[in-house]
């Protein structure tokens, strides 16, 4: 989680909503890390999780990551939750819960439907305070409170 938190801090330094993600393999080796990059890439789907998952799969040249863990500082949104299922990730570890935009424990609860063909082990709330504090500090430093919805 500390690697993911470092990625989140990097995002904040670039003016991106601070979310960071890491993909590790079955032996615990880091396959990919990523920061949220929606602004830099002009891509509303350039979330840390999706970038890290795609990078890990590209590194391996495989479309599934069945032995892997995704660690991310914030509860994934529906996009990233669905990507986690599609890549058949073994374990999801996340930091802060996200009642506003989350898709795992909130809203559509993507894994909790028969249409979801793979459900990872889910561990939420790891280093929750630190993960949430990075986000809170970022939004408190922004002038327009309306910017706080989504990434």
């Amino acid at each position: 989680m500390q690697r993911a938190l470092n990625e989140a801090r990097k995002a904040a330094e670039c003016g991106e909503v601070p979310v960071g993600a890491v993909v590790t393999d079955g032996a615990g080796a880091v396959l990919a890390t990523a920061s949220n990059a929606v602004e830099a890439r002009h891509d509303a789907t350039a979330h840390a999780e999706l970038l890290a998952l795609r990078a890990a799969a590209a590194r391996r040249g495989e479309k599934y990551l069945v032995d892997c863990t995704l660690t991310v500082t914030l509860e994934p949104c529906p996009l990233c939750a669905a990507a986690i299922a599609l890549f058949r990730i073994k374990r999801l570890v996340f930091g802060a819960y996200d009642p506003k935009s989350g898709g795992v424990e909130h809203g559509p609860r993507v894994f909790d439907h028969a249409t979801c063909h793979h459900r990872p082990e889910v561990i939420g709330g790891v280093d929750e305070r630190e993960s949430a504090a990075i986000l809170r500090d970022f939004f408190e430093n922004r002038r327009d409170p309306a910017n706080s919805a989504g990434r």
Copy 2:
């Protein structure tokens, strides 16, 4: 929809689950087209919709596509439904309904939650028979019926 169907046929020719997508702007001009490319890219998230949306946003250099229509041959899965909301697409037009893996009218119904911050106009069932026939023909030609779940 005929452009999207042509993209779906291209996918089938490449051994990809035949789904095609087109993004058009407010004036009806085509911004991007894409075929499902999960196998070729070794990327479980390389769905036609997500590829077309990212290409359209990249072409414009903008993170939102507020005036645009996404036309796709199959009901989007939760990943693509969430991407449609994130890109703030104005209108979604799709062909066949997908009770097995769909995320708009089935399963998590991504747009139907307060955590979804943008809901497009949704028109389903356009050229439904033709869209479904391309998928059915593809799976009937594959040896292993277990391959028919997801892309």
